[in-house]
């Protein structure tokens, strides 16, 4: 078995509906007593029958999270480098067909933006770009990394998929984590949602996290954009993907993000909106399936909801986020946001909120081993 796609195929045609119908609440209760969950156990936790035991799932999830991560949450913020994009993802505001204001940060602008964000005390940063290989080339990204590493100790990327070699170049230049969402694991739907541009290639994207692991990324985050397809199925494949990666690259810290669709500049609205209750079910099921995986909740979610789900499994949160290019330092309003931020608290406010809940806001949890003091 060479790549995740081969493994994915063994589950693709599984009759989910039939299986969900067969799961009883007592079966879920029995699974909650287990130390290690199988894939099919995990799927049972995503079933309608598990909804009756959501409180039990939440309690186990909280206990496992405290044991593995303590009462602490790592804070980071995204930094948008460029919103030029050649893709046609129908759900995204940066879609090439949307006439939005576009901008691509020059190196002095990258420096100013980094300097501004660093004032918050954050040490972990996530660099994002749209898919425009000409503007946001690997060379450009390496240069940006060299600028931002003066301000941050851990640098992640959320960019278009690369070959192993490209990831390796970025790792050698100081990138330590990769976030890449498959958006939807449903191959047919994927084709429909990505009618044009290089992103159309489902398999190339699906295998990108593997290439990141092979290239030496220290942490890799996967996820589906919740709302595009049936969340039970999507979350199952997200868990399966993460577990598959963790088994093959035990040295990599594999994690999840749980992005849920938010309103944006286009006209697309999610066909399968996921409720708060179901998002909690997804998060706790993932935690029980992979007790050591990081779980990231972004500012797409509202402040009150983020506060409520904090103890249920979350390990990482973005704070003080802007999804506009240069959103922290550029005064000219000439670039549109990718999606609207829901939790608008700044880093300081977020840190205070965490402390209020008895959680420690963590600003630094990694540094490049070569150059922490240099």
């Amino acid at each position: 078995m060479t790549d995740f796609y081969e493994y994915y195929k063994t589950w693709r045609d599984f009759s989910f509906v039939e299986y969900f119908r067969s799961v009883s609440e007592s079966r879920v209760a029995a699974i909650l007593q287990k130390e290690r969950l199988s894939e099919i156990d995990f799927l049972a936790l995503l079933s309608p029958a598990a909804e009756g035991l959501l409180e039990d799932m939440a309690q186990r999830s909280r206990d496992l999270t405290i044991r593995n991560f303590g009462r602490s949450v790592l804070l980071f913020t995204p930094m948008y480098l460029s919103n030029y994009c050649t893709n046609r993802c129908v759900y995204c505001g940066f879609n090439v067909d949307n006439s939005i204001m576009r901008h691509h940060l020059s190196f002095p602008e990258v420096e100013r933006e980094a300097e501004e964000i660093a004032k918050s005390g954050l040490k972990h940063i996530l660099l994002l770009t749209g898919e425009d290989k000409r503007r946001a080339s690997i060379e450009y990204l390496c240069h940006c990394v060299r600028i931002v590493e003066k301000y941050f100790t851990a640098i992640g990327i959320e960019i278009y998929p690369l070959e192993t070699e490209g990831y390796r170049t970025l790792v050698e230049n100081g990138v330590d984590s990769l976030t890449l969402f498959q958006e939807t694991y449903n191959e047919t739907l994927y084709k429909k949602l990505h009618p044009g541009g290089p992103k159309r290639n489902y398999r190339y994207r699906l295998a990108a996290p593997e290439r990141g692991c092979a290239a030496g990324m220290r942490a890799v985050n996967v996820g589906g954009l919740l709302g595009l397809d049936d969340w039970r199925r999507e979350s199952f494949f997200t868990g399966l993907h993460a577990d598959w990666l963790q088994s093959r690259w035990p040295e990599v810290t594999v994690g999840f993000s749980l992005p849920r669709m938010r309103p944006h500049a286009g006209t697309f609205q999610p066909d399968f909106p996921i409720s708060d209750r179901h998002l909690v079910q997804v998060m706790t099921a993932l935690r029980l399936f992979m007790p050591r995986a990081g779980i990231t909740i972004s500012t797409r979610e509202g402040a009150q909801f983020r506060d409520n789900i904090l103890p249920l499994g979350v390990t990482t949160m973005s704070a003080g986020a802007s999804t506009a290019v240069g959103g922290h330092s550029r005064e000219e309003a000439d670039s549109t946001s990718q999606f609207d931020i829901s939790d608008e608290r700044n880093v300081q406010e977020m840190a205070e909120a965490l402390k209020g809940f008895g959680y420690q806001p963590v600003y630094k949890d990694w540094h490049p081993i070569g150059g922490i003091l240099s």
Binding site: R67, G70, R71, G121, V252, R292
Partner: protein, 264 residues
């Protein structure tokens, strides 16, 4: 602190320690709890993950909460190879954290089990450079022997996987290490309750390192105090030596009773 065994020092790297409870700095809701944990537990050695320390922080920093009087034991958490562990040790030393180092080389994120081979390699390099090296390992006699040869100052076998709070699952293996290895055996990871730390000490462990069970407790400072007592109690029991125990009541000797009389 209980002084009843005050001449029973644990000596590591030339330093005599009265307390045999090592504590950690991870997983607390707030670093501000650390001074009270140290005070109430009596701990004199505290381990800190260098990856978490922000030497450039203008704001509060974990190091601000560690009293000067305790021995700092930086650890190489995050290292996946011997080379990375060595680099982290060098950074710790350059940052003024002293020359004690706890080697943690973990290349398995699912179970967080230490990599014995890489740990031995890192120990050898760092001990040669003059570090006081305390390596974290599986309770494995062969790895422990290699660590003795590599110049380790102590050996830190796990009781159960990190953060599992599952107790002394490796008890029999740790017992063998205590019997065979001439270095201090410090039980690290897995201890979830004070009674388990007590049991490890009774068995002859030189010390216990406890982090998750204290940091994750309802009231960490109280749990820290409980662990302090437990470790002292277990140590005292070990020093005293157990009374002879027998499985049968003294009066009954079903197999040898015939020798007591009657037979000519």
């Amino acid at each position: 602190m209980d002084k009843s065994n005050s001449n029973d020092l644990l000596t590591i790297g030339g330093i005599g320690l009265e307390s045999r409870l090592f504590t950690g700095t991870g997983k607390y809701p707030s670093d501000a709890m650390i001074p009270e944990v140290i005070e109430r537990s009596g701990s004199q050695v505290i381990t800190v993950a260098l990856r978490r320390v922000d030497f450039a922080a203008g704001t509060e920093n974990i190091m601000d909460f560690i009293p000067q009087s305790v021995q700092l034991l930086p650890n190489t958490s995050g290292a996946r190879t011997a080379e990375e562990a060595v680099r982290i040790a060098h950074l710790a030393q350059a940052a003024g954290c002293g020359n004690w180092i706890k080697i943690e080389v973990i290349s398995d994120n699912r179970y967080l089990l230490p990599d014995g081979y890489e740990t031995v390699r890192a120990t050898e390099i760092l001990a040669n450079e003059g570090f006081v090296v305390l390596p974290y390992i599986n309770a494995d006699l062969m790895v422990a022997r290699s660590l003795v040869d590599s110049g380790a100052a102590a050996v830190m076998p796990l009781g159960a996987p990190i953060g599992s709070n599952r107790g002394l699952r490796t008890e029999e293996m740790i017992r063998i290490l205590i019997e065979e290895i001439k270095l201090p055996i410090i039980v690290d990871a897995g201890i979830g309750k004070p009674s388990e730390a007590c049991a490890a000490m009774e068995m002859g462990a030189a010390a216990c390192l406890v982090n998750t069970a204290i940091a994750g407790a309802g009231v960490p400072a109280i749990m820290a105090e409980a662990f302090g007592h437990a470790v002292r109690a277990g140590r005292a029991a070990f020093l005293s030596g157990p009374g002879a125990s027998r499985k049968t009541a003294a009066a009954s000797s079903p197999l040898t009773g015939f020798l007591e009389g009657g037979t000519q």
